[in-house]
């Protein structure tokens, strides 16, 4: 694990440097020392037009294919196209790859590739002392420096002397490398990210093959551009190999992950695939009503691609139409889903109340981002928990569950649908920008081995018989009767209903009965979900409680504490409403409970209110994930 307490990478190589036979792209054996590491964290950063996301993704896929465990953190600028070279336009992509199991993209980076002064000034603080700093020197001209607010050139004024600085004339060398293709300057400069990739690939002794394949697929129709990208990639690699600038190469061997068949998956993709799997497992057609919103739109994009699965995606006129169309589809018997982010949920809440009242199963997916209002659209946060559980008018409970990592989104999507159909309730599923855009290796499941989701619909009845649309089963769920079924004609709606008959009712006692019934139905979910597990001792000094996308950082921090011999355990909650049935007992088994969240203490408040345990919050609201180091520091503080 790469944490600040156990640094690894070029800044602090572990193990003996060793010579090894390596092959460059042209097949020549490498001639520089090869240093083995257990993990490395690399960040590419540059202007949003510099292709940094692509560079990061390529290093990710290549490292995954090399058998490393990986975790990624793309960091998008808030503005789609801020003026070139400005700090507002800086885009970054961080990846940690390791030969051990890792759960975070790393706190601080071992190698930083900065394409311009603005990228340097905004990212330098995260580079480990002694870390490799690879700079596109050509961008450090007067204008670039001024835009970044540098008074003197940091490449020359000695301010970077605590890092291993490698200024490279990337623009110039890329232009030279691609000259033969006859592209214009602008197009030639677009190949610069491939040069940077090539250099990073050499530094970490990575194969160019997967990226060359990607270039073939992506640019095959434009041979000159494809060739230019190939040339730039190889030029970057060869630059590392042949010049004296970079003295050694690093090597992170394959991780000993659980054996099996893997692919690299992003959270939003895993979620979309999980929804498709859930639809198939329950024999439902998938209907998605969605309005584009960052960072959830990629779920819509992914689902829209798969019409041969019978998936129907509807890009609605607004957030309200997105959720109400899902309710309409659910009434018709489809798997009705809406995907959005916090501001969208705010708009949908009245309609979610309708789904609660009509007791229809729909899924509301909130890929959380920084709020309130428009907030920080491209940054992560966990401040929508109370909105999810309580943010509607009236007593309007619904189950809320959260995914913990990119690959976990696949499982949670199915779990949400299982609960929704079993209990005939809308279910809110929370992810966040961090796991939505992050990626990790995913042990590819065999669809045929996934557990089925049983869904029942009442059959036709004869003329003269009466259908009771609000009759109850053992979980208090009502029947899901589908239009088209003879004899079951019934009307549902937002007005209070008499239990069993489903007729409109203003009877005071019936209202209280129904309010309690809807609550009981959600409480009953606790009967159908697993008990909360902990990682670590069943009792002890400290329990760290977390939920959602902070899983990796919290687990890593707790494992670190455990490795120091501390009696610290970790409970990561998937089920936030209702809580697992053993939650109270669990909280009382430790001297202290720390609830870590990227908000001002929402889960903490819920746990304190419900279980009367004096838990303490650890909170951060900066649009950024927790670093392992800050969690470790807090754990040490609490157990000392």
């Amino acid at each position: 694990m790469s944490t600040t307490t156990t640094p690894a990478g070029p800044s602090a190589p572990k193990g003996q440097p060793q010579r090894a036979e390596t092959n460059g792209p042209a097949g020549q054996p490498g001639h520089k020392p090869l240093v083995e590491l257990t993990s490395a964290t690399v960040r590419f950063c540059g202007d949003s037009g510099d292709g940094m996301q692509l560079a990061g993704t390529q290093l990710t896929n290549t490292s995954a294919l090399a058998g490393n465990d990986i975790a990624t953190f793309p960091d998008f600028p808030a503005e789609i196209r801020a003026p070139r070279g400005t700090k507002a336009g800086v885009s970054g992509f961080q990846i940690q790859f390791a030969s051990t199991e890792i759960f975070t993209p790393g706190d601080r980076v071992d190698a930083l590739v900065a394409m311009n002064p603005a990228a340097l000034v905004t990212n330098l603080a995260d580079l480990n002392p002694g870390g490799a700093l690879i700079i596109n020197r050509d961008a450090f001209d007067e204008k670039g420096l001024k835009q970044a607010g540098y008074e003197t050139n940091p490449l020359e004024d000695g301010s970077l002397k605590s890092y291993r600085l490698f200024p490279v004339d990337m623009t110039r060398m890329t232009r030279l490398a691609v000259e033969s293709q006859g592209l214009g300057t602008k197009e030639s400069d677009r190949c610069r990210n491939f040069f940077a990739m090539g250099l990073a690939f050499w530094l970490y002794n990575r194969s160019l093959e997967p990226t060359l394949r990607y270039i073939d697929e992506k640019f095959g129709k434009r041979p000159a551009v494809a060739e230019a990208n190939r040339l730039a990639l190889k030029a970057g690699y060869n630059f590392g190999e042949t010049t004296e600038a970079l003295p050694s190469q690093y090597f992170v061997p394959a991780a000993r992950l659980k054996s099996g068949h893997y692919t690299n998956i992003m959270g939003n993709t895993a979620l979309a695939w999980g929804l498709m799997a859930a639809a198939k497992l329950s024999g439902r057609d998938l209907f998605l009503g969605s309005y584009p919103i960052t960072p959830a739109s990629d779920i819509l994009h992914e689902l829209a691609k798969h019409k041969e699965f019978g998936v129907r995606t509807f890009q609605a006129e607004d957030e309200i139409a997105a959720v109400t169309s899902a309710i309409g589809a659910a009434y018709g018997g489809a798997m009705g889903i809406t995907t959005t982010s916090g501001p969208g949920v705010a708009l949908k809440q009245e309609a979610i109340g309708l789904a609660i009242m009509t007791e229809l199963p729909i899924l509301i997916i909130n890929v959380q981002r920084g709020g309130p209002s428009t907030g920080l659209p491209t940054k992560t946060e966990q401040a929508d928990l109370l909105q999810a559980i309580y943010g509607r008018n009236g007593e309007s409970p619904l189950p809320v569950i959260a995914a913990r990592s990119p690959a976990d989104c696949f499982d949670v999507a199915q779990e949400a649908w299982r609960i929704a159909t079993r209990f005939m309730v809308p279910v809110m599923l929370l992810t966040d920008g961090y796991i939505a855009n992050g990626s990790e290796p995913w042990l590819v499941p065999d669809f045929n081995k996934l557990p089925k989701i049983e869904v029942k619909h009442p059959g036709p009845i004869a003329e003269g018989e009466t259908f009771m649309p609000y009759a109850r089963d053992e979980y208090l769920a009502r029947p899901w009767a589908l239009p088209g079924t003879p004899g079951l004609m019934h009307r549902i709606g937002g007005l209070e209903k008499q239990d069993i008959t489903g007729n409109v009712s203003y009877d005071p006692l019936n209202h209280e009965h129904m309010v309690r019934l809807r609550q009981q139905k959600v409480d009953n979910v606790a009967l159908a979900i697993p008990k909360q597990e902990v990682s670590g001792p069943p009792k002890g000094k400290l329990l760290v409680v977390s939920w959602g996308g902070t899983y990796g950082a919290c687990l890593t921090a707790v494992q670190h504490a455990q490795s120091q011999g501390l009696a610290v355990a970790h409970a990561h909650l998937r089920y936030l409403n209702p809580f697992p049935s053993n939650m109270g007992e669990l909280l009382k088994s430790y001297d202290k409970v720390m609830v870590a969240e990227l908000n001002l203490g929402q889960l903490n408040m819920l746990l304190r209110a419900k279980y009367m345990v004096d838990t303490v919050g650890y909170n951060k609201v900066q649009g950024r994930p927790f670093s392992v180091a800050e969690l470790v520091a807090q754990i040490n503080e609490l157990v000392k």
């Binding site: 058998g67 068949h261 041969e308 309200i320 109400t324 018997g333 239009p483 009307r491």
Partner: protein, 340 residues
């Protein structure tokens, strides 16, 4: 929508639910309900294949009174719920029942988009120019100067005209009728049901409690022949007790002319509901009382691709091209690797 088996012969009464109808006595809604129940058997669609979706307002109680499937939803959202339902279940016959406040205020956005998508649904807007359920505030169709509880000195916002809005939203079927003109109303509802695409129908509906007589000019036995003009496809626009007046085009504007004195039927404007461009329909929608007789009937009925059909076609095309989706193949569609 045919089930292939012989359908039982249904009567209007078979479409009545067991719920007590709770509109104010004398409300125009009763008549619309009666006409709806009357035309239903003639459509040949089984009750279980029919769904009424409504929002909030007096009119939106409608689904409770029909022995079909139904959703009484939330304010303004019925077109969006119907969109999801029809997209997921193209086999169903879906009706939206709405009012002037529901459709044109809080639900304006959904109405606009449902119409332009041209889903095969029917939208019936009960226009009573008032908020009835909330007890008498002015609505987006109330005339300028309307004095209500919320506009004690008269309304100062310009009203919307539902037919003009629908035409502006690229509607493929637009019609108007009047609650008490029961034969005409039945005909219009039936034509709406038979139209393939979004059928938008405005019904002048009297709210005898909060806005009594708003459409008296159009329903009064004495005056209606002069204040209402019935549109018929391919026929000249003639009106008046003695059918002696007509509408003629003067440049781009309609004008009232008297037949006889040098003006023959051939000089009049002929209605063409199938005109590919909506200009004529729009011009007709701008004819207002008291300057003009107000047209009722079908303003526009054209054929255009329907959203629900197109979605189904794309699915069929994807299936034809790629074969039925295979999740295991999808899961393995990126680069994969094995760990021993």
């Amino acid at each position: 929508m045919s089930t292939g088996t012989t359908l039982p012969v249904l009567q209007a009464a078979d479409f009545a639910s067991d719920q007590e109808v709770r509109w104010c006595p004398g409300c125009g809604d009763y008549s619309i309900l009666a006409q709806m129940k009357k035309i239903m058997p003639s459509l040949g669609i089984p009750r279980e294949q029919t769904v009424f979706v409504s929002g909030i307002g007096c009119s939106s109680r409608f689904p409770y009174y029909m022995n079909t499937y139904g959703v009484h939803s939330i304010h303004g959202r019925a077109p969006a719920i119907a969109t999801g339902l029809k997209t997921a279940r193209p086999d169903l016959s879906v009706w939206v029942i709405t009012g002037d406040g529901d459709a044109l205020s809080i639900g304006g956005n959904h109405l606009m988009h449902a119409i332009r998508r041209n889903l095969d649904i029917n939208i019936v807007l009960f226009n009573n120019q008032i908020y009835g359920l909330t007890k008498g505030q002015y609505s987006p169709t109330s005339p300028l100067g309307k004095v209500t509880k919320s506009t004690p000195m008269g309304a100062v916002d310009n009203p919307l005209h539902p037919i003009s809005i629908a035409i502006g939203c690229e509607a493929t079927f637009v019609a108007r009728s009047i609650d008490v003109n029961i034969k005409h109303l039945g005909m219009v509802l039936k034509r709406a049901a038979e139209h393939r695409g979004t059928a938008f129908v405005e019904v002048y509906q009297n709210c005898n409690i909060f806005n009594d007589g708003a459409f008296a000019y159009a329903t009064d036995k004495e005056s209606k022949a002069d204040t209402v003009i019935e549109l018929e496809h391919g026929k000249p626009l003639i009106f008046g007790k003695n059918r002696d007046k007509g509408i003629r085009l003067h440049g781009l504007d309609p004008e009232i002319v008297e037949l006889g004195k040098g003006v023959s039927e051939d000089d009049l404007l002929f209605h063409d509901e199938k005109a590919p461009e909506p200009s004529l329909a729009y011009l007709l929608s701008r004819m207002r009382h008291p300057e003009f007789p107000e047209p009722i009937g079908v303003f526009r009925a054209v054929d255009r691709p329907r959203y629900d059909d197109e979605v189904s076609k794309q699915i069929a095309a994807a299936l034809a091209k790629k074969g039925p989706g295979d999740l295991n193949a999808l899961f393995n569609s990126g680069d994969t690797w094995d760990i021993e």
